[in-house]
């Protein structure tokens, strides 16, 4: 097995996969969106509870691979408490970070995200890591 692979399946990822955070009932749901990845059959359901423009709670429930599940779980920790606008720019940055479309200094991102960096060496799996983020984006762009 290559070190690249080791890098992708780090303990933090596996921990988030085995124990995904924040899949729970919200007091009230302001936005919700479902995402599919036909490639592996990943499915993610995201719900936001807002107070004005601030995200007060989030639920992320994933049925999917380790990468997608961990990515969703990590995301759920990160987004809580951010404003909608902060969330949007965070999603932008994470997308750029994972796809390499734009140079992002990892230091500018929450450290937990760095655990996902290994996926960049597996182009076909990037979609798995992206799915929760793009689904969150869709939810936030809804009128």
């Amino acid at each position: 097995m290559t070190t690249q692979l080791d890098n992708m399946y780090r303990d933090l990822i596996l921990d988030h996969y085995e124990h995904p955070r924040n899949c729970h009932e919200l007091n009230h749901t302001d936005r919700t969106e479902e995402g599919f990845n036909p490639l592996c059959g990943d499915h993610v359901n995201i719900q936001f509870e807002q107070d004005g423009r601030t995200i007060t709670d989030i639920s992320v429930c994933t049925k999917g691979c380790a990468i997608c599940t961990a990515s969703g779980s990590i995301m759920s920790d990160i987004l809580k408490g951010l404003s909608v606008d902060e969330t949007k720019s965070m999603v932008e940055n994470v997308k750029a970070f994972l796809t390499g479309d734009r140079d992002i200094d990892p230091a500018d991102l929450p450290s937990s995200l760095q655990a996902l960096s290994g996926v960049r060496k597996f182009p076909i799996r990037i979609k798995c890591a992206l799915l929760p983020w793009t689904t969150a984006e869709l939810a936030l762009n809804k009128k």
Partner: protein, 403 residues
């Protein structure tokens, strides 16, 4: 066991250590097939059917010789029963869009099985939706993982227009009793559409033994080039069906007001076809029959059985198969607590090529209460070493996931 065929496959020679266990998705090509295509392009290439010079006559002759060879391979009455398409998917869409479109009315029924590949499922589902017909989906026995023949028998009624059935499931390998399927369909005057994509690479096929109305296959799953498929149709259907696509090479006469069409199979082959694809399948069939499909079957079944045994012994692997039968060298499984896609990534990293996902058979995967599965598929060029590699890969997966 087959010895030495690996040497016939350049990809395997060029990737020592590769365990290619994804032949059910598409097979590698032996050098005779590649050489046949390359020779065509280097010595005989020209467009077919309308050239009166020797290159074009040779190209036409090669194209039609392929039709004869494939007809002989499946025991079709005449080469004219064979329409050349891109793949199984197009073959089935052609049937649904022509005779399907003209025969199915509101209130009619179309019977498919839960085991179908999307290629033999979605076209019928969409036709039924469009026409206000009912799509009846026949299940499998959860114990044996074989088509539920009793359910099929009661699903077919005098409202049934088409019975669409795979000859070999690309997930389970199961091979329904097509003679019985045909008998049931015929009792009610329904037409049969068989998906032979996963069957013909592994079994001799004699269609005179069950007389399907239509049957589809893909060259790329049986050592031929990608982009070339075949539709077999009974003459009376092909003669009465409207064309699928229109344009060059399929017309008899075009005036501003109207167009008359050529006879089948030309009627269904609009535009310049993939001539080298036909040549590749001709050569692939020669190669396969030369080795012998029976010997291939024996070889791949032995390897799949061995893998099955070893994976079972690991305790953490769930195999989805009837314990008594392994078909078409196909082995579907899952590793406990690990998503199949992660398994496949770890295997892929070790140069073990398997497929993970829904295998274009979502209704079946769903019926079996899974989201995805891993599929290892063995073919003539696989070896016991490939089995060892697969087992080592699963071992590694379990280690990574601390299982």
């Amino acid at each position: 066991m087959l010895e030495g065929v690996q040497n016939d496959f350049p990809v395997l020679k060029n990737h020592p250590g590769l365990a290619y266990l994804d032949s059910a998705a598409s097979t590698q090509k032996p050098s005779v097939v590649l050489d046949a295509m390359d020779h065509f392009y280097r010595f005989n290439y020209a467009n077919i059917h309308r050239g009166v010079y020797s290159l074009s006559e040779q190209a036409t002759a090669s194209y039609e010789a392929a039709r004869m060879r494939i007809a002989r391979f499946i025991h079709a009455k005449s080469p004219e029963n064979l329409v050349f398409t891109r793949n199984t998917t197009e073959s089935i869409n052609l049937v649904a869009a022509t005779i399907g479109e003209s025969m199915v009315r509101e209130g009619d029924e179309i019977v498919v099985t839960i085991m179908e590949h999307h290629a033999n499922f979605v076209p019928w589902q969409q036709l039924a939706l469009k026409k206000g017909a009912t799509l009846k989906v026949v299940g499998i026995d959860r114990e044996t993982l074989e088509l539920d023949m009793a359910e099929l028998a009661s699903a077919i009624t005098d409202k049934t227009r088409f019975v669409c059935c795979t000859m070999a499931s690309n997930v389970l390998g199961a091979t329904p009793n097509v003679a019985e399927v045909t008998r049931l369909a015929r009792k009610f005057g329904a037409l049969t559409v068989f998906d032979a994509a996963q069957f013909v690479p592994h079994h001799p096929l004699d269609i005179t033994s069950f007389e399907p109305d239509f049957l589809a296959l893909s060259g790329h799953k049986m050592l031929g080039a990608d982009g070339f498929g075949v539709l077999y149709g009974k003459s009376e259907h092909l003669a009465s069906m409207p064309p699928f696509m229109t344009g060059g090479d399929m017309i008899e006469n075009v005036t501003i007001e109207k167009t008359t069409y050529s006879q089948p199979p030309q009627k269904f082959e609009a535009g310049t076809p993939f001539i080298a694809g036909a040549i590749s399948l001709h050569s692939a069939i020669d190669y396969l029959e030369n080795i012998g499909l029976d010997r291939i079957q024996e070889h791949e079944t032995e390897l799949a059985r061995l893998a099955d045994e070893k994976l079972r012994a690991m305790g953490k692997v769930r195999l989805y198969r009837n314990a008594n039968r392994i078909h078409n060298g196909i082995l579907p499984f899952n590793v406990e607590g690990v998503h199949p896609h992660d398994v496949a990534t770890i295997l892929g990293d070790m140069d073990i090529c398997v497929r993970a996902g829904h295998h274009c058979a979502q209704p079946l995967i769903h019926f079996m209460d899974e989201i995805a599965m891993i599929r290892a598929s063995f073919y003539l060029y696989n070896t016991e070493e490939d089995v060892e590699r697969l087992v080592a890969g699963i071992q590694k997966t379990l280690e990574v996931f601390h299982k």
